[in-house]
Subunit: 211 residues, 2 copies
Amino acid sequence: QSLVAENNRYADDNRQFFKKNDITAVHLVSSPGSGKTTLLMSTLNRLQADHALAVIAADQDSEQDSKRIAQTGISVKQINTGQYCHLNAKMVHHALKQLPVAEDGFVFIEDVGNLVVPEVFDLGESYRVLVWSITEGEDKPIKYPAMFEKADLIFLNKIDLLPHLNFNSEKCLNYLREINPKAAVLTGSAATQEGMCEWVNWLEKMASKSK
Amino acid sequence: QSLVAENNRYADDNRQFFKKNDITAVHLVSSPGSGKTTLLMSTLNRLQADHALAVIAADQDSEQDSKRIAQTGISVKQINTGQYCHLNAKMVHHALKQLPVAEDGFVFIEDVGNLVVPEVFDLGESYRVLVWSITEGEDKPIKYPAMFEKADLIFLNKIDLLPHLNFNSEKCLNYLREINPKAAVLTGSAATQEGMCEWVNWLEKMASKSK
Ligand SMILES: Nc1nc2c(ncn2[C@@H]2O[C@H](COP(=O)(O)OP(=O)(O)OP(=O)(O)O)[C@@H](O)[C@H]2O)c(=O)[nH]1
Ligand SMILES: Nc1nc2c(ncn2[C@@H]2O[C@H](COP(=O)(O)OP(=O)(O)OP(=O)(O)O)[C@@H](O)[C@H]2O)c(=O)[nH]1
Ligand SMILES: [Mg+2]
Ligand SMILES: [Mg+2]
Ligand SMILES: [Zn+2]
Ligand SMILES: [Zn+2]
């Protein structure tokens, strides 16, 4: 409980920092390999002409994702969470100090691939986006309700594979609505770019909201 | 640390129970939706003519997997781990008391979909099998070294999707060997049944080993 209290102090601090600098902070969560980094790279490429961007990339171990993201030329800070199964606000606080965070832009935070958290930690982000790959099956919302409840948007990814799977889209949306009736839902493919326009539009709409 | 000590007392107890009854206990782990339940159902159908079988199915929430497994007619006990992100030996200990565990058979334990564990808990199992879906990408072993290190066998699943993915099989095996040079590796598809014969052969070989 005191872990949560300490986390929330840092979260409030992060949230103040983002607000003061007009930054839209987007926290990406998902299972391992659902497509967060692929989606992020495509997103950064589309936003960089018009917006200041920075990324915090987290994994239990390795520098894989920060190396990939660095290819876009965007500033990225890698965090290895080690024993911790997800980011906390203190880690984000320290990472922000090591990034060139410019006013009026986006900070993207890619969390460790993990849907199981004992407690959903506030990082101080503006929005929480859950990337859900259709390859994982329709019932994930009811198996991991805490993570699905807290999402502002669900990006249903890898729809290019739909023809080759037994995926029931109706069941999928029913399970989702059972757990989170209010989340925005976008369907797409980070690989083929399907749905990317709607996704970037949503991001820009959210960014302008906070102005 | 005392959590681990308490766990290991129950794990030793479980291990004794399995040994005394000539039971081969197989612990299945993976990311969410990699195919554990689908693989398990096919496995149960193939083993049930010759072996006593029982299943422990775990998820944070819901009865989804135990309902599916029950369709095979095999006895199954559902555990909801709630706040805990994976099974522990105490939960398994209690579940075993509620299952008709017959001598000289298999107990399959499907864990919560999760590759991130602060500590890899011993359940008292005979073997640990990691189901890794090729849809998750090649670099999972170096991102989740603890889980990959502890696997006795890696079942590389969903290879029916290989033609539709950018999956580099060589990279995949290199990353795996970096983390776990000794694990057995089988490739297959729980959906199309490819690789199922080799998988069942491995299980029967492991079962006869402990006799
Ligand atoms: N077919 C298909 N594959 C995709 C798509 N998006 C990502 N992938 C593939 O899925 C695998 C994992 O993608 P990543 O972007 O690394 O996923 P991630 O969520 O960042 O993974 P972690 O950070 O390790 O949890 C890679 O092999 C990608 O090429 C998609 O829309 N369609
Ligand atoms: N294409 C393909 N799909 C598969 C394969 N195995 C499982 N699936 C699909 O993958 C999805 C998840 O399968 P499950 O067996 O429920 O996976 P799981 O690991 O038990 O999932 P959780 O218990 O929720 O973590 C389902 O839609 C399955 O039909 C496979 O070999 N190929
Ligand atoms: Mg990633
Ligand atoms: Mg399952
Ligand atoms: Zn713009
Ligand atoms: Zn047999």
